[in-house]
Symmetry: C2
Subunit: 365 residues, 2 copies
């Protein structure tokens, strides 16, 4: 087992013990990958890592994947228990789970698996593992930061090449196909999302690119990202085809100023919600507060959305190495929307952007 | 709302009522897509369809995705409730959930969402929704069968083209990259898995393709598939590079005979476990029973693995329109493994294969 994963397993067990948990259980993916380097597909057959403070970690796997698990970075050092098709995997897991107390369960574990375990451990209180281990995953090491920066550069290059393509007269879904292709051509292992929202559609933050033909005078929100080396990129730029529509430039400048204000608010010791407040202050004081109706950002790493969330009510304190999006927006129904998003990393005394595409208004053709 | 989705929603509510459930709740994906045609990315923000027998369906969505939900096939006819970032989505959901009785929850719903709902509905018994609605999804309509057949043909063409490429002297991961590329070139929207297990690695059923260089005399298990129009392909063939290793041909013929016996056992009214028994009988009576240590197959549709599972203990009765894999295998540690897998559909009086690659032993170079 590499030192990296050994350290993560130890820290997770220690954080669980400190929080009073009898065990942490995680399934694929991505908690299991983070803690062990083992990354089988998340499917209906139960794979479960059981961490109990003071005991050795146990990995429960389908029998047919036992060779795969043993060949993984953790294989030689963990106890790997196989269960066979037709057996009850929850019975196998229950055999190594505490019978009472609290167990932290990985956020993305399937409901069917959790229900199977709850049924066999009725006296246990199950709680989301993110409450225990989110900070562990949220603070990236140098290797993780380097991978996220590579993903950011691949997104930058994708944006540059997309802007060189024609927009006017093409359908949203055609531009989206280009985005998707370029994400991979620029180094992503997989494109993950490719929002192209044009004209009035740009007022819908998560618009699905469709058959609308893009016209001169349209604002176009491009929100795209993919997976690179296990980590994600996530960038948004709002471009205009030719002449901007009436009122657009003022709104654009406001979103840009909001994004910059939030960026400048980031440093160690600041609460996540204070970054949200900094973004919201700019937009709210200009009278568009109710048109910025989503949080300012989300953590990013092995998940495209993960803690910390930059949202009112989240008093979690930022630390060096945390990475998240800053993406304020203003959405005017029936007219246009604007969103500008960068991924940033908290440094020792502030923040740096991991993607560098210009935030100047870009006119496309 | 199209008739298709209206019918599915009605049938799901009816099946839930008949099974004594107060509600069915499903999140993205794929239950939500199946029931409503709405298919947002499954993320940390709660999206939840609530079906209560005798009441209209309610869809709970993040506020920023409300326009997206309203524009979906179900949008105009469902009650769509938005919750805003910073609000408690589980509180919003609890407002429309029954306070007691049993609730069926979609199998792949995230644990963190289920825990949030359980916390607010402590008197409710939550159970996996697959127990209620699996048969609904398992019986495919003509449109679904046509899509699965298209996916099967794309997998066939992928196999044909892969066999024309050189194996000897290349690494597993290089052949895997070709498989992945060819799955997409032949019409899949996304490649999903691309197992290339050579030589002794072929004895590990879910081997992850690695840096091993393929040599003359190797058996190579190719297990590959992808998503096409929302549905999956999943085909396995075992090829040999040049001259087969000692004992290989006998084992290959046995697996082929086992696969054929299972295929012939499929018809309406037969229990899922009887197909498993038919496959196992052939291999067991030849003395290799303990080397066939996984189930014979799994249902396939919007999920690559879904009910019905062809496994001892599953007495569920097969019906026309059900689709699943038949994939017996024999794995000899340190030597080689063989697996042959087709997707089949239950017809009115038997079964038909949805992929047609020859099961004759294929020699590659």
């Amino acid at each position: 087992m590499s030192d990296r994963f050994a350290q993560r397993l130890e820290r997770a067990a220690a954080e669980a013990a400190e929080a009073g948990f009898a065990a942490v259980i995680v399934a694929p993916f991505p908690d299991l990958r983070y803690l062990t380097g083992y990354d089988p597909p998340p499917l209906e057959r139960l794979t479960l890592l059981v961490l109990r403070p003071g005991s050795d970690p146990v990995l429960i796997v389908p029998a047919l994947e036992r060779p795969l698990a043993l060949a993984s970075p953790v294989g030689p050092r963990l106890e790997v228990l196989g269960w066979a098709d037709g057996d009850d995997p929850y019975e196998a897991a229950a055999a190594v789970l505490p019978g009472e107390g609290r167990i932290a369960v990985g956020d993305r574990t399937w409901a069917t698996h959790l229900l199977g375990l709850q049924w066999r451990r009725p006296k246990v209180g199950f709680l989301p593992a993110s409450q225990v281990i989110w900070r562990l995953r949220a603070v990236k090491d140098d290797q993780e930061l380097a991978t996220l920066a590579r993903a950011g550069r691949a997104a930058d290059e994708t944006f540059r090449q997309t802007c060189a393509l024609p927009f006017e007269g093409r359908r949203e879904e055609e531009v989206a196909a280009d985005l998707r292709r370029l994400l991979v051509e620029n180094g992503h292992g997989r494109a993950d999302f490719w929002i192209v929202a044009s004209g009035p559609n740009s007022a819908s933050p998560h618009h699905a690119p469709g058959r609308r033909t893009i016209r001169a005078g349209d604002a176009v929100v491009l929100d795209f990202g993919g997976e690179l080396g296990g980590y994600y990129s996530d960038t948004t730029r709002t471009v205009v085809v030719g002449e901007p529509p009436g009122g657009f430039v003022e709104v654009y400048d406001l979103v840009r100023e909001s994004q910059e204000a939030a960026f400048r608010a980031v440093r160690p010791g600041v609460a996540a919600q204070d970054v949200d407040r900094a973004a919201r202050e700019v937009i709210g004081s200009a009278g568009f507060g109710d048109r910025f109706f989503h949080r300012t950002g989300h953590g990013i790493g092995l998940d495209v959305h993960e803690p910390p969330y930059l949202v009112e009510g989240n008093a979690s304190v930022l630390e060096p190495g945390m990475t998240f999006s800053i993406e304020p927006g203003i959405y005017l129904d029936g007219r246009f929307g604007v969103r500008i998003e960068d991924i940033v990393a908290v440094t020792d005394d502030g923040a740096k952007r991991l993607n560098r595409s210009s935030r100047d208004l870009k006119i496309v053709r």
